[in-house]
Symmetry: C2
Subunit: 393 residues, 2 copies
């Protein structure tokens, strides 16, 4: 029986499954819990003093521009900065006109789905894939075509057959240190993916919040950003400076598509906080941003190593896991016969929280995988938490 409120909701919203996360969150509210379940950057990764200086100087430097309505596309200074950085680091050959500032990358996911998806339209996603993206796309009632992700990257044959499905609008990828697996597409896999999509009329989303957090191996070129007009590269300052300001961006050379997304953004929030944009721009241009990123990388590398070392010591060989070259996550697979959800509840009993793999898949099944985040716990907490998990395995 519908409540009177449900009668007022649209079909897509009524069809949404109950939030998997909310139920789990309740189980992990206890402040004594050591949490590896979230995806928060370390507070040590925020350049607080430098951002504070930028805030203190902002009024004198930017005046009323800080406070007035502004352009939907974002402040020109920051878009120029981003374009220059994309060109310098990745040779994308873009200009400020190809950049749209978004209220975090999350907004970009929502806007792209909003302007492209009719109910039933196809969306190709990595399996397992980023939960926050899956939930956002679900609002538009798409047909998901999951493609397996493995150590090498995306299953190229699987991608080719998924692309043969009708009405596929976009492919969503996180090629570097993927969430939830920590896996990175190899250089060869990127080329193979590009060759499959290059002559298709489809959008490729390359979501890259973690790309700069590489602590092992060499930076790899993007799959298609800068070369394929329908590629939308998503970038963010959330993992390299601050997530609280909600400043992300998208890069897209297809001007018609970009303009359509910008029009949807105008209806969505007019523009991203100008205060956030100017403070961040001021920080980026008055400090050694690359030096700061190098510090975060070193921090996360040592946190990751601490966790992997503890896992190697405390976990039995029957538990397998990824060894990320960067980013924030390790993905574990339990032996046959044990579900991640059972393990989650056992772990909570021991005051440790993990993220069970279930919501990272497009269809419910009792999976044996779970995600560990190593960026928001101290080394002592990491060692103690992994030790406790080990006693359950």
């Amino acid at each position: 029986m519908e409540t009177t409120t449900q009668q007022l909701l649209c079909k897509n919203v009524k069809a949404l499954p109950p939030s998997f996360i909310k139920g789990m969150l309740k189980a992990t509210q206890d402040p004594e819990i050591i949490s590896f379940s979230g995806g928060l950057p370390s507070p040590l990764s925020f350049p607080m003093e430098a951002l504070g200086k930028s805030m203190a100087h902002a009024v004198e430097r930017y005046g009323t521009k800080l406070f007035q309505y502004s352009l939907t596309a974002g402040i020109p200074e920051l878009r120029e900065f981003i374009a220059a950085r994309c060109n310098e680091k990745y040779g994308l050959g873009v200009t400020a006109a190809d950049i749209l500032i978004t209220t975090g990358s999350q907004q970009a996911l929502d806007l792209i789905a909003k302007v492209t998806l009719d109910p039933g339209d196809g969306v190709i996603v990595e399996e397992p894939g980023y939960l926050g993206a899956l939930q956002t796309f679900l609002q538009y009632a798409p047909t998901f075509h999951p493609v397996a992700l493995s150590e090498d990257g995306l299953d190229v044959e699987g991608l080719a057959s998924a692309l043969a499905a009708p009405r596929v609008k976009f492919i969503y990828t996180v090629p570097n240190f993927q969430n939830p697996t920590g896996l990175t597409y190899s250089a060869q896999n990127r080329k193979a993916v590009y060759n499959v999509i290059r002559d298709k009329n489809v959008i490729l989303i390359e979501d890259d919040p973690y790309g700069e957090l590489r602590f092992d191996g060499k930076t790899l070129p993007y799959i298609a950003a800068g070369r394929f007009d329908n590629c939308i590269l998503l970038g963010s300052f959330s993992k390299t400076a601050t997530p609280g300001m909600r400043v992300g961006y998208l890069v897209c050379k297809n001007a018609e598509l970009l303009e359509t997304i910008a029009a949807a953004k105008e209806s969505s929030d007019v523009h991203t906080s100008v205060l956030s944009q100017y403070v961040l721009y001021d920080y980026l241009t008055h400090n050694d941003y690359d030096g700061h990123i190098a510090e975060i990388r070193a921090l996360y590398e040592s946190q990751c190593k601490t966790m992997l070392d503890a896992m190697s010591e405390c976990f039995p060989a029957s538990v397998s896991y990824t060894r990320p070259d960067g980013g924030m996550f390790i993905w574990c697979t339990l032996p046959e016969g044990k579900t991640a959800l059972d393990f989650f509840y056992e772990a909570v009993e021991c005051k440790v929280a993990v993220a069970p793999g279930d919501p990272f898949y497009t269809a419910p099944k009792a999976v044996r995988t779970f995600r560990l985040n190593y960026t928001n716990a101290s080394k002592e907490e990491i060692r103690e938490g992994i030790r406790r998990l080990g006693t359950l395995l």
Copy 2:
């Protein structure tokens, strides 16, 4: 013939009419133009020095909370502040749990439409109505039921018949100093509107960005906020402190509805800029906010009076117009035989910009109405601009 990009867009987006505004904006880019066409607050309304102080002290006062991910609902401190103010000023009887911080009120409009509207669902709007809301709702392909707005408020009989239409999900109102007309619903009209909706299962949006900018007459109670669970009151700091920070809020006592909107917000941008929220909260609690609003009111009253005096002097009696008790706009009606669009282009020739009334109606027709904004021009500009417009009439 569709472009390949259009093939990737959803039906609702492809059906959107071309932006009326974009074409007009091009005509008004000339920096020599005196513009009454926008809706910008005066830069004098920004408490720059005080906001600058809050920015300078923010790191020491709020620490890492300024920079980390935060709650989708908004920071608790600001929600408490808003609830207390709603209770003190309007006796709404709400708590922080009834408040959702939004990235400007614009986001609230988008989220409400997003969670409620299936294509063809009914939306009741004032005619003429706020363009930014109409454009946002249009993205969800509703059936508009316009109800006439006049000096007294909303046409109550028109509202009752509109409510008899099938699948009406919400009514959108701006009861104080409406955009675009500057009109305010009378106390009697508010009661009559409330009596029509009180036993209906429909959402009433009371959008109130200008309510505190009253320079004449007494504050009136809301139509239904605080009494009708499906009422969603929208508030904003854009017109009383700064629009650039993008901080608005919605107040709703229907917890199920509020939670659904909050879930959509989570997918939309996770949360509103925490920096914006804390800086604003700090400003509000360390300064005389009501005293600042009184200054804005006095400023806008004198700008409005200057414009009305100039109109009385320069416009012929055949041009009628509203006399707002607050807010930012005057609404003019040309004599028979002259369209607002023709007048707009004639005015641009004289280097003055007005907002022709056309896009404020749900169906295109050659209207004789146009909007004048008096808050973002000096008194000299107001007098000179109105003088030039007078020569065309």
